[in-house]
Amino acid sequence: MDIAWEDGKRSTYTGEQLRWACPCAECRGEGGAPGRLARLTTLSPDELLIKDVTLVGQYAVQIAFESGHATGIYTFPYLRNLGA
């Protein structure tokens, strides 16, 4: 996936990178409890393949992976940081 930012900068991401960066509560953990990604060291290939990307309002994108995982809302500042 790549993003052309408002200021002209471009960032490129791999599905793998985005999957490991998923910001959702299940992956990250909540209330101090570690999330799923903290317990894993590998993910199956269909977890790493982007199926669909939808715009959320004008502040974020929601990324759906082939595995069906689609709960992560990646805000633009977060992605910008990730792609730096």
Binding site: D2, I3, A4, V56, G57, Q58, F76
Partner: protein, 362 residues
């Protein structure tokens, strides 16, 4: 007698290029506002001056400037300026939004705190934009306390055509409110997720058609309704309404900061119930204090869009179902609303030149 040759189109554009749009910060030729330019062999110059909003606050100034600048060119015998407006699609999007395909600009009216007159402002803002010549819709996103039907005197139930709800028409506006769908005294008793669904339905399942502006009257709070909206549609911007006292401005600031987090640009702050002129003594009373919203706007670095007086007539006409900008256009309240509408339109035009990040997946 020496003959003066008529100027070329290029020369006309060159002088018109001296007119700067104060809001967009560029000249009107670069912005593509000058169209259908013709220079006749007799030296008559005519062109169309296309504004980005019919509610443009500098409309008359632009016209005079254009006439004077072109009229002063040697060889020009007459100038005809046709003023028109074409509201631009927000964010220079390559394709229209899927959720509201015919809507060019979506403007939310929010406050954080309840009871500051958000709906009154939203109704009059929509009506004032309509009066300027724009096609305007008004979506009442307050599911629990819909007040748009009463304030616009529209109590009819929407009809369904081809599986889509037809908006209610009143005062030249297209309206949709939960109060239209479920009229009467029965309350809507919904948990949060249902509120989101209801608001989405009012966007997707209503046949809004082609609109220059869709004004969205939000309920108080920084929760479900605002979040659903900010996630479902790319809002062009949000106008925040508050009253002058600290207890209201403090909450308005929270609402504004929430929209900032969601990357919805604040169009500015509007101060309602700013002052009251006593009909007995004629004195101006500032019941809720003075300048609270303006000070908050300054602190936050957002525009202050204007102040609206507390008037019996605004309340009375709202209760009777006619926005004050229509019923009493000469009143101080109506003039304040018209001024604010042109400020909102100008700020919205600026936002329409913004671009969102472009995402590509391969």
């Amino acid at each position: 007698m020496p003959t003066v040759s008529v100027p070329s189109s290029q020369q006309v554009l060159e002088v018109l290029g001296h007119i700067q749009d104060p809001d967009l910060g560029r000249d009107v030729v670069t912005l593509g506002m000058i169209k259908e330019l013709e220079v006749s062999p007799q030296g008559k110059v005519s062109f169309t001056f296309e504004l980005t909003t019919p509610a443009c606050p500098v409309r008359d100034r632009f016209k005079t400037q254009a006439q004077d600048l072109v009229g002063d060119l040697p060889g020009v015998t007459g100038v005809e300026v046709r003023m028109t407006a074409n509201v631009r699609q927000s964010f220079m999007r390559p394709k229209p939004s899927e959720i509201l395909p015919g809507v060019k600009q979506t403007i939310a009216v929010a406050s954080g705190k309840g009871g500051v007159g958000k709906s009154t402002v939203a109704v009059n803002l929509a009506a004032a934009l309509r009066l300027s010549g724009a096609e305007v819709g008004l979506l009442d996103a307050d599911i629990y306390g819909p007040s748009v039907p009463a304030m616009t005197g529209s109590r009819s139930v929407p009809e369904q055509v081809n599986g889509k709800l037809q908006p209610i028409e009143a005062h030249g506006l297209k309206l949709m409110s939960f109060g239209h769908i479920y009229p009467g005294e029965q309350p809507t008793i919904y948990r949060g997720p249902m509120v989101g669904k209801a608001i989405e339905a009012m966007m997707v399942q209503v046949d809004w058609g082609r609109l220059d502006y869709l004004v969205i009257d939000l309920p108080p709070g920084t929760g479900d309704a605002s979040l659903t909206l900010a996630q479902a549609v790319p809002l062009t911007g949000v106008a925040i309404v508050c009253t002058p006292q600290d207890v209201a401005t403090d909450i308005a600031v929270k609402a504004l900061q929430m929209f900032r987090k969601l990357n919805v640009p604040p169009l500015g702050l509007i101060e309602n119930m700013s002052w009251y002129v006593c009909s007995e003594c004629g004195h101006r009373h500032e019941i809720f204090g003075h300048g609270g919203a303006e000070a908050a706007a300054k602190r936050l670095g957002v525009p202050f869009l204007g102040a609206i007086p507390l008037e019996d007539d605004i309340r009375a006409d709202s209760d009777k179902g006619t926005p004050v900008v229509i019923s009493r256009p000469e009143s101080a309240g109506a003039k304040a609303f018209v001024h604010i509408a042109s400020q909102v339109a100008a700020r919205t035009s600026i936002q329409s030149f913004r671009q969102l990040p472009v995402i590509n997946v391969h």
